[in-house]
């Protein structure tokens, strides 16, 4: 069952300019994206920098103005214009990319973690403290660190504090926006393992944004590939990695460094071959504006953006 359903989402940011600073153009950061995230799964969103991943994530969180399209969470319409707005924000939480800047350096751990609790629930000071301690222990941080400041923790620990804040209200869906991109390999491993544990423990659904395909492959059940505000391909992890259909996906997969140095030459050749194919067949896969076509179903689980034939 779909926990989150995004339907033809468009988010266009105005560009202001001219003498009177009026809107002269717009950036189509997200330009017609549809996908579903099913309960309990990890859905990965990959794409190069600027492709609109963060914008999509923020839109689900209600942090961006939606130009067009709909977002449903458990069948409630999140961006309904009329009628009551359903507040599901305690069911959806977000973890941000940079553990060094996403936590307010002047706040203590207790205030950081308790912030969402304070917004949604009224707890006595003691209860709140107990709750924060529980949460910290759950993410593997000693509960007597509540009075410390973020700079007293390592990158991996900070990211765990971010997670503690995100799970404070027992959310159903966590949007993780590049949670490990700023981290060293060994710390990255720690955070990835931990996310998997907490997901199992709390029955969470993960919406995982990254540009590192190795990480995506390790974490995700299904993957959507994004290019310039549109999805070019979506499928099960195996499908994307073993049977990529869209040239852009192929190019991304080919760009992953091979960790076996014995395959180096082969891999490099393969990469330049794909690059050539990409340049030659660009207009077989993208329209005149260089944007992706609409997704077509090619198997039950696999969709690719291909032009209408015939």
């Amino acid at each position: 069952m779909a926990l989150l359903k995004v339907d033809d989402l468009k988010i266009h940011f105005p560009i202001h300019g001219g003498i009177l600073n009026r809107k002269i153009d717009e950036v189509k950061a997200v330009d017609g994206v549809s996908f579903e995230v099913r309960e309990g799964e990890t859905y990965g969103l990959v794409g190069e920098s600027g492709s609109g991943k963060t914008t999509t994530g923020k839109a689900v969180m209600g942090l961006n103005n939606i130009t067009d399209g709909d977002i449903y969470f458990e069948d409630s319409h999140l961006n309904a214009k009329k009628g009551k707005k359903i507040d599901v924000r305690n069911d959806i939480q977000m973890i941000f990319q940079d553990p060094y800047s996403s936590l307010n350096p002047r706040k203590r751990v207790i205030d950081i973690v308790a912030e969402p609790i304070r917004n949604y629930e009224k707890l006595s000071k003691d209860d709140e403290k107990k709750r924060v301690q529980e949460l910290l222990e759950r993410v593997g941080i000693s509960s007597d660190s509540i009075m410390k400041y973020p700079h007293e923790f390592s990158g991996g620990q900070r990211q765990r504090i971010g997670v503690a804040r995100a799970i404070a209200l027992n959310p159903k869906l966590i949007i993780a926006d590049e949670p490990v991109s700023a981290l060293d390999v060994s710390v990255q491993a720690q955070v990835l393992n931990f996310l998997q544990d907490i997901q199992k423990e709390m029955d969470l659904t993960l919406f995982f944004i990254a540009h590192d395909l190795g990480v995506i492959k390790h974490m995700c059940d299904r993957i959507g590939i994004m290019y310039q505000g549109r999805l070019v391909e979506e499928g099960l992890t195996e499908e994307i990695f073993n049977n990529p259909q869209h040239i852009y996906t192929k190019r991304l997969v080919a760009a992953i460094p091979d960790v076996d140095p014995r395959n180096r030459e082969k891999h490099r050749e393969f990469r330049s071959q794909i690059k050539e194919e990409y340049q030659q067949s660009f207009y077989d896969y993208f329209n005149e504006e260089g944007l992706a076509f609409n997704l077509k179903q090619i198997t039950d689980t696999h969709k690719v953006a291909l032009p209408e034939r015939g």
């Binding site: 300019g17 001219g18 003498i19 009177l20 600073n21």
Partner: protein
């Protein structure tokens, strides 16, 4: 860049309007009539009422404002109640004097501030820097009028090196060499007093800007190219740190013009600040209003100038 400047100019218009309205209402609250000064507060209430009616002072405020602002635009600020002269005439020569004083002060501030800031930033935490920083702390702590008094007393009265009042010695032919030298002679002491205290902000700003720039990654890039230290400093560190200072030029001028009030008073220098204080003391409200309006104008134009300079020196704005 042009777009930016034009847009900036457009913003200036409402600023001017707002400022003039503020001054207008401030003036309306003053006793008597600050705009035309033709209402004598010592008359009987009936007579005043009659006069007011005749002068249109009972008209709605926007009509009065309109009349006042169009007069101002033509350079008519009314007549001084104390000197019985048009305010414009009175202010004109004072304004020229204040502008000279501010210009010279600014030149001193940059001439002293930039080298001190550079030295202190380049050799931060060394002895020279500690001395210079010590000086800036002192400068912040010393009120300008006390400093000016001490300077005046010592160099003016005790040593007698400089004149103790006025803007030029009397009996000199305007435009002659002696006349200009005398003007400079009169300017030097007040300008130096302003500069020595006013410079501390520039020194501290430049110092921290340089220390900041020194740590930037692109400085390492410059060293990795094989650039000698002198080049690293001159082409990369100083250049990048001084540019923002250049942009403060407009603000600096404004600050000085409005800040000269005390110093002019102490040195009995016949500038706008001096005129301002005198006029307040003798309740010459038309003059006070005019001076406040001009100070406000200076502030707005100074900010405008700064923004325009910034848009010229910083490519991140210039390109747009």
């Amino acid at each position: 860049m042009w777009k930016f400047i034009v847009r900036r100019l457009i913003i200036t218009l409402p600023q001017l309007l707002l400022m003039s309205l503020l001054v207008f209402f401030m003036a309306s609250l003053m006793p008597g009539d600050a705009f035309t000064s033709q209402v004598d507060p010592s008359l009987s209430p009936e007579a005043i009422e009659e006069q007011r009616e005749r002068l249109g002072l009972n008209d709605p405020w926007y009509q009065q404002y309109g009349r006042w602002i169009s007069n101002v635009a033509e350079g008519d600020f009314g007549t001084s109640t104390a000197h019985y002269r048009p305010v414009t005439d009175l202010i004109w020569e004072r304004m020229i004097n204040t502008i000279w004083l501010s210009l010279l002060s600014v030149i001193f501030i940059y001439a002293i501030g930039i080298p001190l800031g550079i030295i202190s930033g380049r050799w931060n935490d060394r002895l020279v820097d500690q001395i210079i920083t010590g000086y800036t702390y002192l400068g912040f702590a010393t009120p300008i009028f006390i400093f000016a008094l001490v300077v005046l007393f010592f160099f003016g009265f005790t040593l007698g090196w400089f004149p103790t009042g006025g803007s030029v010695a009397s009996g000199l032919e305007p435009g002659s060499f002696e006349y200009i030298m005398s003007k400079l002679h009169h300017l030097l002491l007040p300008a130096l007093s302003i500069a020595l205290i006013g410079v501390v902000g520039t020194v501290q700003y430049l110092r921290s800007e340089i220390i900041d720039t020194k740590q930037k990654d692109f400085i390492v890039t410059a060293r990795a190219k094989g650039a000698p230290e002198s080049r690293v400093y001159n082409r990369h560190i100083f250049r990048n740190s001084v540019l923002p200072i250049a942009a403060f030029f407009g603000y600096e001028i404004t600050m000085l013009i409005t800040g000269s009030v005390f110093v002019e008073q102490i040195f009995s220098y016949p500038g706008m600040g001096n005129l301002f204080i005198e006029s307040i003391l003798i309740r010459d409200f038309p003059v006070v209003t005019a001076v406040v309006l001009l100070f406000g104008l200076a502030a707005i134009l100074g900010a405008l100038l700064s923004d325009i300079i910034l848009s010229i020196v910083d490519p991140r704005i210039r390109i747009k």
